[in-house]
Symmetry: D2
Subunit: 162 residues, 4 copies
Amino acid sequence: MMDISKQWTNFLEDATEEEQEMASLYLNSLKRKKSGENGTHIGALMAIESEFQEPGTLTMTIPNTEFLQNSLHILHGGLTATLLDSAMGTLAFRLLPEDKAAVTTEMKINYVAKGVGTHFTCIASVIHKGSKLLVMEGKVYRSDQTLIAHATGSFFVIPNKK
Amino acid sequence: MMDISKQWTNFLEDATEEEQEMASLYLNSLKRKKSGENGTHIGALMAIESEFQEPGTLTMTIPNTEFLQNSLHILHGGLTATLLDSAMGTLAFRLLPEDKAAVTTEMKINYVAKGVGTHFTCIASVIHKGSKLLVMEGKVYRSDQTLIAHATGSFFVIPNKK
Amino acid sequence: MMDISKQWTNFLEDATEEEQEMASLYLNSLKRKKSGENGTHIGALMAIESEFQEPGTLTMTIPNTEFLQNSLHILHGGLTATLLDSAMGTLAFRLLPEDKAAVTTEMKINYVAKGVGTHFTCIASVIHKGSKLLVMEGKVYRSDQTLIAHATGSFFVIPNKK
Amino acid sequence: MMDISKQWTNFLEDATEEEQEMASLYLNSLKRKKSGENGTHIGALMAIESEFQEPGTLTMTIPNTEFLQNSLHILHGGLTATLLDSAMGTLAFRLLPEDKAAVTTEMKINYVAKGVGTHFTCIASVIHKGSKLLVMEGKVYRSDQTLIAHATGSFFVIPNKK
C-alpha cells in the first residue's frame, strides 16, 4: 500500500479549493490535538476554544467552517449537539472535586434558528448541582447574537479514575 | 505560506501511528465526499453507510475509529447525537414527497451504555407522521448488540427548494 | 363556617348536569382512595386501572371524563404527562427489588394527536435497566388505537424506606 | 340510584379529616370553575393563580394541598408537568395575536428537588418566538425558593377558531 504522505500529495494535485481548505483544516486539527490544545479529535476539528467564568459558566467558541455544515451549508444539528454536550460536560467536570468525573445521561436540544455566520458561541450554565446528578443548560448563539439552539442535559457523577 | 501538500508531508515525517491513521481517515473522508458517497464532511468522516428498509426504517452503520472517541476512548455523546440526527433526518426526508424537506426542531437523547466495540448501528423509525411534523425514534447499538443510546426527535416539514 | 356536607347540598341544588357529573366523579375518587384502589388522589380522580405483564410491560387505562379535558375538550397535556409518569414510574418500581424505589429525574413527551374518545391506554416498557438508573418508554393511545403521546423518562434508583 | 347530594351527605358522615379537606377542595374547585376563575377542572383543583408580566413572563402560583401529592407526600411529577404545561402554554397563547392559538408539541422536564412546602410558583418565559413554533422555558420553585423542576417545551401555532 502506498505511503500515506504520498497519497495526500497525489490527492492534493487536483484538489478543488474546498478540498484544499479541508486538507488544511484536518492538518491543523492534528496539530491542535498533538499540542494538547484540544483533548479530542472532534474538539480539535471544531477548533474549540473554551473559557470558564466564575462562579459557574463556561463559554466555548468555534469558527464556522465547511466541516460544520450540512448539505444546505447550515451548522449540522449533530455538531451543534457536540458543542452543547462538550460545553455542558466540561462545565460539569470543572465544578466537581478532582476525584469525580461526569457522564452525560441525557440531553435535549431545541433548534430554533439556522446556524450561519462567521462563528458560534456556546454558553453553558448550571440548573442544579446535586451530589449525584448535575443538570446543565446550554445555549448556542451565532455571530449576529441570535440564539440558534437551547439544550438541557443531565450529568451523572462518577469516580474519576484518572 | 507553504503549500498544503508540503505541510502534510512535513507533518507526517514524524507522525505517531495514531496520527498516521487519522491522516488516512481524513484523506478517505475527502474521497468519500468527492465521490458523493456521503453528502457532508461529517458523514464522510464517520463513513456512514445508510440503508432504507420498507415500510419505514433506516439503518446507518459506522466503523469505530479514534475520530469518534472522547478522551476516555468512548464514543463521543455529540457524535452519537450526530448519528441519531442523521439517521432520523434522512428517514424523515425519505418519507416525504419530493417537493418537501425536513428540519430538526428538537431531539432528546438518553445515553444508556458505553460506546465501545468495532462498529455502531443506528436504527431510525417513525413514531408519528403528520403533515407538518414528523416524530422519529432512533436507537444506537454497539457491535455486541447492546443498546447505547435512545432518541426521539421532531422534524418540521418545509418546502424542498432544490 | 358551614358544615361541608351542607355546603355540598347547597351547591348541588342548582348545579348544572356537568357539575353533577363532576360531583359524582369527585365522590367516587374519594371512595377509590379510601378503599385503596388508588394510592393517590390524582390516580383516583383519573380512575387509573393498572396491569403488569411479564416480562416487563405495564398498561394503565383511564376512562375519558370532563375532568381530564382542557378548555377545548381535549385530554390536557399535563394529565397525559401524569398518566405517563405514573405508568413508567410504577413499572420502574415493580422491576426493582423490594428494598429499592425509583424517582423520576426527567421525562420528555411528544404530543402527536388529539386526546379524544372514550378512554385512554398507556403502555410503559423498559429501554434500559441499569443498577442506578432506569430508562423507560411510555406510549398513550386513545380508544381508536391512535397514538397520541410518546414519552421517555429516567428513574433514579433510591433505597425504599417504607 | 341515590341522589348525588344524598351520597355526599352519607359519605361525609364518617369521613376522616383528610377526606373532609378533600371534599372541601373539590367543592371549591367546582365553584372556581363555575365563576370562571379557572377555565379547566384541573386548573381549578390546583387553584392556579396566574399573572402576566411585560414583556413576556408568566407566573403561576398554587397552594400545596393533599391533592397534589404522591404517596410519599411529595408534589406529583405529573402535576408538576401540568403546572409547567399550563404556564408555558398560557404564555404562548398570550403572546400570539387574537386569531392564533398554540398547542404543545413536546415538553421535557428535569426534576431536581422534592416538591414540599406551602406553595409552588412556576415562571414561564420565552426561549424563541417563531412564526410557526414557540419554544418556552418553565421553572418551578417551592416556597423556600428552591428550584424543583425545569422544563422546555415547543408550542405549535394554529388558527384560533374561537
